[in-house]
């Protein structure tokens, strides 16, 4: 008789578990706020920072770098309200990523 009660309890727990899991999955997606990066730019730009600036991975093909560079530059173009400082950072980022991307799998 005890075994029966245990089975019933397990079944109930299982049922609630499933219901809870479904409710969890069905909850409305909360907009996740990312924390802004701290501070200004690094004194000497690193490959990592360059990748962050262009929004690409560090090991990325030249094609993607140029594409990202174009896109980001348009958003920050000095003629369209951007600053020269940011534009120069973006250019520098492109140069860094293009200069050292020999072994990033680009197919020649």
């Amino acid at each position: 008789m005890v075994a029966g009660a245990a089975v019933a309890a397990a079944a109930l727990a299982g049922r609630y578990g499933i219901l809870a899991w479904q409710a969890f999955k069905a909850r409305p997606p909360a907009a996740r706020m990312r924390r802004f990066y701290e501070g200004g730019f690094q004194t000497a730009m690193t490959r990592r920072e360059a990748a962050l600036i262009l929004g690409v991975r560090e090991r990325v093909v030249a094609e993607k770098v140029k594409e990202a560079h174009r896109r980001v530059m348009v958003a920050n173009h000095p003629d369209a309200g951007g600053s020269h400082y940011l534009a120069s950072k973006i250019n520098e980022a492109k140069d860094i990523l293009l200069g050292k991307s020999n072994n990033s799998g680009s197919a020649f």
């Binding site: 262009l54 920050n76 951007g82 600053s83 020269h84 400082y85």
Partner: protein, 73 residues
């Protein structure tokens, strides 16, 4: 009063903040906010989150500067 939240090595300077937003020492706060809004929005659409962050930090920094200028301690 020092804002103790920022780590010294990673703090943005007023000079860099002005460079990022493309403003001078003569620029008014209203103009700065305008430039910030534009840059922030442009980068949200087509830039990188990293650049958006820098723009945001630049404005934060200048906000402190202008606030302390208007309220002499």
């Amino acid at each position: 009063m020092q804002n103790a939240v920022r780590k010294a090595g990673k703090s943005i300077t007023e000079q860099e903040a002005r460079q990022i937003l493309g403003v001078t020492e003569q620029t008014s706060w209203e103009e700065i906010v305008q430039k910030y809004d534009k840059l922030f929005e442009n980068n949200a659409k087509a830039g990188s989150f990293y650049l958006q962050s820098k723009v945001h930090r630049a404005k934060e920094c200048l906000e402190e500067v202008y606030r302390s200028k208007s309220t002499p301690s």
